[in-house]
Symmetry: C2
């Protein structure tokens, strides 16, 4: 499909190698050579060469049967992403405490352009089923973490997010830009976002912002609970306390520090 | 330094893009353009172009001051590595239980050629300090997880591991191939590895193998405890139970399953 591209110079080759990696998704984490070729839109011979190079380095791993998967070597280097494992390591003790006290699902997420990316997720025992996975993406406006991240995003990001069609998941999903704008203003005022049955009719999420060393919002933490039984007003302060703990461990300014 | 290379064809370009990523290490997770050029051994102009392409895709992120870091987009794709986050997600509840019961450090690791790579690490409160980090590497023979992984590795891997010089960290480090061979045989016999003060004189690690769906050993789990107070014989069955729980959740054959 993209065979019409001019196959020259480094730009093209690097972009093609990255396109090979992009063929792998949560829905198809294991691919054969022909599938990589099809999903990346690259000719089979090009795919064969690039896959060979990526596998030699360890970005891909070849299984005995000929299937390919993303390799551990790529994961090792990717673990240096400060918004991935670095953030997650700082946050884990607080997320764990929040999970133990509430017994609900706990999520840690960052914004990547107009999506939420989940950096950590701890499943509560007996908690409501949630659809997210670590490394997975979701839209901003239907989730608690997304509302927090969007409320604190630059104005141009907010405008682009609201200019998109907003997908309806349930009868409670916020689908008009005016509604979302009103909710974002409320999030900024209160410092907490409540996303009520926007994704599924059995779940509510309560989220709060995490600040980085420059004082800006770098991530959000949420609890996702059964809509029928959860009390968002009771959960909100717990989520806020966890968010402040994580912010403090990241070196956010303006938080009271402990006296040793 | 590598400017003499012939700068042509795809192989070279992909390899160079990967060399740019390899310039980032746990010791230097943030780099300026000139530093990337120096550490990757690529000319500044080539580095500039490759960094631009990698940043456009999201494999690198540029900070306002001009520093570069590994990007979240790479982490997203790398999270598909089955031996990275996939393994870790299956293991986390068992690691968490093991950490809560023992109050010690808990580690999950896989073998990558002749190294251990740590996939997860939970720090116990008040536990002995450990040097490892998630995504980090260490030698096989001085660690409990490494002894387990080496004991279960193909014979040629064992021979290569023992043909290397074994680095001494403490007076207790196993440095002769004969000693290591004897210990590996013991690990295979008992199903548990104890690494006693091999890395630091205050820590002992107790490790057990994790089996995958094909029945082969795919990972190892360990507890790292204070050498002065820990009782390896008491900790071993706890580590083994956690390893079997993780193996079962990965679909390992031959383990008794629960009756629903």
């Amino acid at each position: 499909m993209r065979r019409g591209e001019v196959p020259h110079a480094g730009a093209s080759v690097t972009a093609r190698a990255l396109r090979v990696l992009e063929a792998f998704t949560p829905e198809r984490p294991v691919l054969r050579l022909a599938e990589i070729s099809r999903h990346s839109g690259l000719p089979l011979t090009t795919t064969h060469r690039l896959v060979g190079e990526l596998a030699a380095w360890g970005a891909l791993e070849r299984e005995p049967g000929g299937d390919y998967r993303i390799g551990l070597r790529l994961w090792e280097i990717a673990s240096l992403a400060p918004r991935g494992l670095g953030l997650r390591e700082a946050a884990l003790p607080y997320l764990s405490d929040l999970g133990r006290i509430t017994r609900e699902n706990v999520q840690l997420a960052v914004r990547e352009d107009l999506s939420v990316v989940y950096v950590e997720r701890l499943a509560g025992r007996g908690a409501v089923p949630v659809l997210t996975r670590v490394g997975g993406r979701f839209a901003l406006t239907p989730t608690g973490v997304g509302l927090v991240l969007l409320a604190c995003a630059p104005a141009d990001v907010q405008e682009r997010a609201l200019a998109q069609p907003l997908v309806r998941h349930t009868e409670k999903t916020l689908c008009s830009p005016e509604e979302v704008r009103r909710v974002l203003a409320e999030v900024r005022r209160t410092g907490v976002a409540v996303s009520d049955r926007q994704v599924t009719m059995d779940a509510v999420s309560i989220a709060a912002p995490i600040h980085g060393p420059e004082g800006t919002v770098v991530a959000a933490v949420s609890v996702v609970a059964h809509a029928a039984t959860a009390d968002p007003r009771a959960l909100a302060p717990l989520v806020q306390v966890a968010a402040r703990g994580i912010s403090r461990s990241l070196g956010a300014p303006g938080l009271p520090s402990s006296v040793a």
